[in-house]
């Protein structure tokens, strides 16, 4: 799964869980915690979701709370090894 797909998956999960409309989360650097799009009530299921798409367990003790601040921070913390999106042939 490339990083663009991962970002779309994360955005989709957060929007569905929060019931927010897509315009509430247009950018990947938007603060998802401060804007109430993700809360501590969601954290267990969210981590399970992250584990399901990265196919690897998350080491809770090794992560910092700030990784939940934005989609950018999530990708950097959990999916740094994922490939960048393929450039379009129609580029």
């Amino acid at each position: 799964m490339d990083q663009k797909t991962i970002r779309d998956e994360l955005r989709g999960w957060i929007l569905e869980r929060s019931g927010a409309t897509p315009d509430r989360l247009e950018r990947d650097d938007q603060p998802i915690l401060d804007e109430g799009l993700l809360t501590s009530l969601d954290v267990v299921e969210f981590i399970l979701f992250i584990e399901s798409i990265r196919k690897e367990e998350v080491d809770i003790e090794a992560i910092e709370p700030e990784v939940f601040n934005s989609i950018d921070a999530l990708v950097e913390a959990f999916f740094a090894k994922a490939p960048a999106p393929m450039e379009s042939a129609l580029g």
């Binding site: 929060s18 019931g19 927010a20 409309t21 915690l33 401060d34 804007e35 109430g36 809360t39 501590s40 009530l41 954290v43 267990v44 981590i47 809770i60 003790e61 992560i63 910092e64 709370p65 700030e66 939940f68 601040n69």
Partner: protein
């Protein structure tokens, strides 16, 4: 004693008194840690005095206004920030009670709370600021909106021409006499804080807690827990949850510090405990469940904690055993109490040898009433049941609040004089077993249609009222599901109109309810199952959900 804090010399007569006493003792001590910042009692005192004098100088209340319609309350709109702490103290320094508003709540709900409270002044932090245009633009009554964190408020003032908006500059100008601030006497029967709880008719109920009530509570707690200035109390609760009053004001009563995790830090509570050196942990059991699921309740994980306290929902035995092992140097207690009885009014100390035999339904007992509080257990006719029998818990005493905010009807229904009694008791709606001999009181569930989700009290009737409205149907049924020993994980709503767009209904529900009340699913049923009384059979709906697993 410093002349600035003269009411600190007397026993606690108002909610601010403990703070003032601790400020007098050591103004350089740290009162609050939040977002990487340590704030001293002295700095908080200065900021609160400046706010209080500014609010007085710019009072939007007219002198001849009826105090019944313009109550002495100031709203504080924000979360987990220096600004909200200053706002709360600023309101109390002024002699007002505070009304917390939560930026994670839907705009409409916040607006309703603000309007119903009658507040004319609102102190905002950066989180509240983001929503204030939407909240306040349709409010006709002029408000004073104070943004102590903001220098330039021109844009906001232009967007809200009906209201007066001031920032840090105006605050400094108006508060030039902050150094001369002196506490005016506060009526012990005046409201210290006004909170809104879920209401069965679709409208949140306001509960005004008097200074007299909360001071009785704090006096009991300070004595029991022997908090010292070296202690660090966690604040896991939002300000709209009355348990937050314990964290803030018990810490300040004793010169200790309260540690407020940010939203990000709340995601990993175990990490926060160790990084902040928490010594007094207080949370709903659901937070401990979260820690358990995150594999954060390993033995000896939290050696600094000396008190592990839980309240807000039923506490399962397995959970308390895990937490006790993770915090082995702590004494563990289960507190119980509705907002109407001021935060908590019974407690039980966990004993790993004795307690499992005293527990019922796998839940830790709720124990005995606080000093000054009295409990009776009654049947449907409000007659006391025999020892060992079950019934509804009614309580009275120093912590019983005056009733619901401007709602005589609901107050009369919940605050009653049982047969043979002279005093008013509050009906908790909780089913308990009346203790036999020295046994502790045990909690057995709700007698009405109220459940707990993640520690929040939810009237299913409120959710149903909303869905009847937005789905335009006669019947909508909400159930808590999956059921847990502490309440439920979330809500599922059933409607019977096949033409309804269920997805749209769910989105609308999420937009209009706080996250913990918003249904995880909205379902259609052809006909509602009925029980022998002809009422919708909720158990059958739950069985249907369970059957699908």
């Amino acid at each position: 004693m410093s002349p600035a804090s003269s009411d600190a010399a007397t026993p606690s007569v108002s909610l601010r008194t403990g703070f003032l006493r601790s400020y007098d003792r050591d103004p350089s001590a740290i009162a609050v840690e939040v977002a990487g910042e340590s704030i001293s009692y002295g700095d908080l005192h200065t900021a609160a005095a400046r706010l209080a004098t500014t609010l007085d100088a710019l009072d939007v209340r007219a002198a001849d206004e009826d105090p019944e319609t313009r109550p002495p309350l100031t709203a504080v709109f924000g979360q987990r920030s220096r600004g909200v702490v200053e706002g709360i103290l600023g309101a109390l320094f002024r002699g007002d009670g505070y009304v917390p508003l939560n930026p994670t709540f839907p705009i409409e709900r916040t607006r309703g709370m603000l309007e119903r409270s009658g507040c004319r002044a609102v102190v905002l932090d950066e989180h509240g600021e983001k929503q204030i245009v939407e909240v306040a633009e349709s409010i006709a009554t002029p408000l004073l909106l104070v943004l102590p964190h903001r220098d330039d408020v021109e844009e906001l003032a232009a967007a809200l021409p009906r209201h007066r908006v001031i920032g840090a500059g105006a605050l400094d100008n108006a508060g030039v006499h902050a150094g001369e601030w002196r506490p005016e006497p506060v009526d012990p029967d005046a409201i210290a804080y006004l909170l809104f709880t879920s209401g069965s008719t679709g409208q949140p109920k306001g509960v005004g807690v008097a200074h007299r009530n909360v001071n009785a509570f704090l006096t009991s707690m300070a004595e029991r827990y022997s908090i010292t200035p070296q202690d660090r109390l966690s604040q896991t609760f939002e300000l709209t949850f009355d348990l937050s009053v314990f964290d803030l004001f018990l810490a300040w009563e004793c010169g200790a510090r309260v540690c407020i995790p940010t939203q990000a830090q709340k995601m990993l509570p175990g990490k926060y405990v160790n990084e902040s050196g928490i010594t007094v942990w207080f949370s709903v059991p659901s937070t401990a469940v979260l820690m358990s699921k995150l594999r954060m309740l390993k033995p000896d994980a939290y050696p600094t904690i000396r008190w592990s306290l839980f309240c807000g929902e039923a506490l399962p035995i397995e959970l308390i055993e895990s937490f006790a092992a993770a915090a082995p140097n702590s004494t563990v207690e289960n507190l119980y109490g509705p907002t109407e009885l001021t935060i908590a009014c019974t407690l039980y100390r966990w004993d790993p040898e004795r307690s499992p035999t005293e527990s019922e339904l796998g839940l830790v007992p709720i124990g005995d009433p606080y000093p000054g509080m009295e409990a009776i257990v009654v049947d449907e006719d409000l007659q006391a049941v025999e020892p060992g029998e079950t019934g509804e818990l009614l309580m009275t005493g120093t912590q019983m609040t005056p009733g619901y905010w401007r709602d005589a009807e609901k107050t009369a229904a919940a605050f009653v004089v049982p047969p043979g009694e002279q005093r008013v008791f509050y009906r908790t709606g909780d089913r308990v077993r009346r203790p036999e001999g020295k046994a502790p009181m045990t909690y057995l569930g709700r007698v009405d249609n109220q459940i707990k989700i993640q520690g929040y009290r939810v009237e299913l009737g409120e959710v149903e009222a909303l869905f009847r409205d937005i789905a335009d149907v006669d019947v909508a049924i909400a159930v808590g599901w999956p059921v847990t020993s502490a309440g439920a994980d979330s809500i599922v709503v059933f409607v019977s109109d096949a033409n309804t767009d269920l997805g749209a209904l769910q989105r609308e529900g999420k937009a209009r309810l706080p996250g913990y009340m918003a249904p995880r699913e909205v379902r259609h049923v052809d006909t509602f199952p009925l029980n022998s009384n002809g009422k919708v059979d909720r158990k059958a709906l739950l069985a249907m959900l369970d059957g699908e697993g």
